[in-house]
Assembly symmetry: C2
Amino acid sequence: MVRASVVGAGMTKFGVHDSPLQELFGQAAFEAFDDAGVDPADIEAFYFGNAMGGQTENDTHLAPKLASHVGIAGVPAQRFEDACATSANAFKHAVEAVESGRHDVVLAGGVERCTPVTGKDTPEMTTIFASASHRQYEQPTGLTFPGVFALLTKRHMHEYGTTEEQLAEVAVKNHAHGQLNDRAHFGKQTSVEEVLEGPVVADPFRLMDCCPFSDGASAVVVVSEEKAAAFDRPVDVVGLGHATDVAPICDKHTPHATQAARDAAAQAYAQAGWDGSEVDFAEVHDCFTGAEVMASEAIGLIEDGQGGVAAAEGRTSLGGEIPINPSGGLKAKGHPIGATGTAQIVELTEQLRGIAGERQVPDATRAVAHNLGGDAATTLVTAMEARL
Amino acid sequence: MVRASVVGAGMTKFGVHDSPLQELFGQAAFEAFDDAGVDPADIEAFYFGNAMGGQTENDTHLAPKLASHVGIAGVPAQRFEDACATSANAFKHAVEAVESGRHDVVLAGGVERCTPVTGKDTPEMTTIFASASHRQYEQPTGLTFPGVFALLTKRHMHEYGTTEEQLAEVAVKNHAHGQLNDRAHFGKQTSVEEVLEGPVVADPFRLMDCCPFSDGASAVVVVSEEKAAAFDRPVDVVGLGHATDVAPICDKHTPHATQAARDAAAQAYAQAGWDGSEVDFAEVHDCFTGAEVMASEAIGLIEDGQGGVAAAEGRTSLGGEIPINPSGGLKAKGHPIGATGTAQIVELTEQLRGIAGERQVPDATRAVAHNLGGDAATTLVTAMEARL
């Protein structure tokens, strides 16, 4: 069942940007408008994601402010914040808006600046990121997100024997993919040895197991199925699941299962009429290498316990049986929090149109995006199909 | 056309609360569950509003965290932030979710702490509030929100001859109403003389023209029209409009018109099949006395230019022809930013059920709520009807 179609996609290079949020977002939005062939006057509503603009640069109420900047003032505009899953949730509401017939053509997207351009240094940014963990039970313990995902990953290692070398293989793979993406924050290649020689951030993660803080923006034009035929190269949204898990982390029954991802994927696949075994590639939320391992299992791409092995064996590389993060993922492409969810949708759109250049997954027709927030307490999984 | 029904409503007293956000919100949510006669297990999705938790108390990603606290972990949960219109927008999405058939029973609500319990003093809070104004064009000028609404109101005074005494009458009325509401932040009566003797905050506003910073929470259980008949005392949502205006304020063509309110009201009334002339009472966003005057005109309750006169003549008092803010409004009931929108819905629900006690509007069957964000760049207008 086609729920909605993406007919235009745009994103900035991820990296360091000195432009204010509205100019940065404008780059992505105008590219999406041009790609779709729409004018601002065609846009009927705006679904926008930004996670931390209030904390990083005292900038909130951004939905109408950015709407004015991109020429769509007047339309209903809303900002979503769901930690790192912020713009996947904005995109979900855009899909629902056109699916229900409330609107025909809408804009979804996100923007964030996380590098020192905001005036915040790394310890300050780490404190801000930690606001997404439990205020009473987690923050006072000093548990920041490298530690959260280290705990989940350690449990995975304990249960399945996943190794630090296998985690490093995820980083090596995603940097290799990122080299093929000129919008990636980090294009340089790395090696298992280099990853394992890096400083420990939170055991088992070393520096290169962790994604960077990035600035960037992404945007897509979403239309109803009926309208899609009037556009060039629509890409269809055929499933979109959204689930939450208990918080804080100590209440999770099987933390390394990332249950919300399993629940969201089940919803998305039920809607799509296919499952993880039939996917041609996936973009998953690899904020840390261990997060990709767990995600690849939770959304049914790799059998449980084999996520690390699969990466080490090249099964998840471009050219492998199920390429994961052909864009480079958060690890190499970068992670401007509120822009990450819709950036995954941009990658799916380009791959399913067959225009991804050197990083193209050959003959890709089915793909999923997996975007999580916080300690995996929020997860959205989106299933998309090429229109053949 | 019935778009959705409210079947349970709860809110805390507005004022100063030392409880963490999840406990404060829990009070409102559990009251709404009890009122509706639902269990947490009946709730299928959560639409949540909080405007500034990241900035005030380093607490974000609150939707799944609060979902866990109120026993609904697992369901899709999303946080909205649209400045002071935050939870009206959360409520809008709850209405759309049940209207479209995606869910049958959902929770909408909001929470905020704005008093010094967060550790932030008044100048710090004023800076945080100002994050909702334009980051590049307004904040650097020192234009905080009393100044924003003072500019709009001064223009109204220039165009129509509205006086400071008339503005003071709005404060006097809303404090009189607030005395009848045991959940109001300020119950004490005031007088025109007392208001006019107060210190100037931003000309023409004196201290008592301004609403307080408050802590509080509000929540409603929203169900589809089909499900509503199974509940006691459903109250129907028959219209819900949402519009934005250009930002920054210098770009507004007719600032005192608050155009987004006019656009949102037109949408809501078109859906409801009636208009402002047929409304029995309204809750409007009186962050400042002048804001109520402009809102009462923009949503068609009072003829343009007569908002101040109407207040002075008692037309908008309880017992008058069109009572405005029987709850006491933001002015007396208080303004915990992210809780204000759904608190208006709580008031409409109680009034339309005829259970508002001393502040009951007799035989109220039609009502509207008007909730704005920022410099009125976001406005939502909700039309509700008693089910007779």
